[in-house]
Amino acid sequence: MTDQPAISVRDLTKDFRVGLRGVKLRAVDNLTLSIPRGQVYGLLGPNGCGKSTTLKIVLGLVPATSGSFTLLGHDSASPEARARIGFLPEAPYFHRFLTGRELVRYCARLSGVAADRVDAATDEALELASMTEAGNRRVGTYSKGMLQRIGLAQAVVHDPELIVLDEPTAGVDPVGSAAIGKMIQAMRQRGKTIVLCSHLLGQVEQVCDRIAVMDRGRLVLEGHIDEVLAQRGVHQISVEGLTPAARQAAEEALSRHGAHVLKVDPPRQTLEDLFRRLVTGSRD
């Protein structure tokens, strides 16, 4: 049972009919993919390459044109499978007139959390998403980052095995994104499977175990993050106090062993690191 992949997709194709004449638009093109359990899986690709569409098909929200797929080894339409997944759709939008807490409770009930567990589960989920305080405000008053976080809370309130996050960091500041990254890692440690769509490649690199890259509906790369990123035969050395003389001596020493230096320049910190050191965090 558990050796079955969390999500398996075989020869999946999806055509949308657009416009009055019903011109076909191929959003997903013959995609075959298997997402193992217990890992963080990154689904990457440019805008419009079919990531969201693929996820929606697998979750049974949109019918496929052809191909087959399973969710935790079940048919996607089956309630058993859907009770064990949590989904955060892209650009989430929730009932504006509910408070965050009411929304999460509502989702807990719909996801089949036992009545006597609803309150505790709601509190835990709000806590995990650091929304405990803001939970008493109406969703309509939330900032984008808060919407994403309440979306995360509603996705995990029933303690699902598989969590599908479609761009959880869209519109979230770097501090908030880092917090979401931490949440993802925490959930992974608890043995969950996480599928993540994101354009924040830096973050994907940090949190994902495996990635798949799609382009125009097709799979162009799939593999373990270390394997796909490794530049074989190249190494980096960081040095402090490098004088021209020292540099020359080092290069000579290296060339005696048949190695040669490709480039020497000061490492740059990322803008993200700089930003994170400068600001304290969002006001939410």
Binding site: V62, P79, R82, A83, C107, R109, L110
Partner: protein, 276 residues
């Protein structure tokens, strides 16, 4: 399953209550009814109660119908356009459960609407009754009598009738792609149902000269559309209780229940195939 339908209905109900549209129509209808009270000075004599009842039930009927078409369409499209439906349907919530939740939520709102307006009409009628009865006595005619039971039965029938309209709106909404289209087609369906009695009468009239095609078309119309005009028996129920045939209310309720089940079944089937 029932608990999920219940929770969806509850949130739908809350959402509708927190919208302005309901309050607006409720106020409009109440203003309409209250505004008719001073008009009685045109001296209707003992016909005053009938006049007030006619106007009140008319307002209930008209504004209720508008609300019953617009509200469910708006609630359904609101969820689909805002993509909240996506979040809900990714949970172990069936499409049918979702639609039924929308139905019961909207229907509960119409219940509030119907019973609130009925209470208002009832209060006005009961307040005016002694005066009108005294005048009728003075003229030595049989005084009208306001039946509270009749008021209640009438509210129930109206609520059922509005329930049928809500289910029709949801059926159209499951098939159509836009809110405007749903409201227009839904209103036309309601209008047709309101006029079905004409077709029924024509068919039943032995003197009517009809071609076979015409007869067939009329027959089909009476089979497809519920006769919603049949539920408008408020005046008789409330002011002339004795004239209502026994069993009228229960048979009307029963046929409403049958229509509700059939239309909701069709709506759920259509909604399952819909792309959202």
């Amino acid at each position: 399953m029932f608990s999920r339908i219940f929770w969806i209905a509850r949130v739908t109900f809350l959402e509708a209550l927190r919208q302005r549209f309901l309050a607006f129509l409720l106020l409009l209808a109440a203003a309409f009814i209250l505004g008719s009270v001073p008009l009685r000075s045109i001296d209707f004599g003992h016909g005053e109660l009938k006049f007030l009842a006619d106007l009140g039930f008319g307002a209930l009927f008209l504004f209720g119908s508008i609300l019953a078409v617009v509200l469910p369409s708006q609630l359904l499209y609101g969820e689909i356009d805002n993509r909240t439906a996506l979040t809900l349907l990714a949970k172990p919530v069936g499409r049918g459960e979702f639609l039924l939740g929308k139905f019961f939520g909207s229907w509960a709102v119409l219940g509030v609407f119907t019973f609130a307006l009925t209470a208002l009409i009832g209060i006005i009628l009961l307040v005016r009754e002694p005066d009108v009865v005294a005048r009728a006595m003075a003229l030595q005619v049989v005084p009208p009598e306001v039946s509270v039971l009749g008021l209640f039965e009438h509210a129930l029938l109206q609520w059922l009738r509005l329930g049928i309209i809500v289910s029709v709106a949801l059926l159209v909404g499951s098939l159509a792609q836009t809110f405007l289209y749903t409201v227009v087609v839904g209103s036309m369906a309601v209008l047709a149902s309101q006029l079905v009695w004409i077709a029924q009468d024509t068919l039943a009239n032995p003197e009517a000269v009809l071609s076979t095609v015409m007869r067939g078309a009329l027959w089909l119309t009476t089979r497809i559309f519920p006769n919603l005009q049949g539920y408008n028996i408020g005046e008789t129920l409330v002011l002339g209780q004795s004239m209502v045939l026994p069993g009228t209310v229960s048979s009307l309720s029963l046929s409403a229940a049958v229509y509700l089940v059939v239309i909701l079944f069709l709506a759920c089937t259509a909604f399952r195939r819909r792309e959202i």
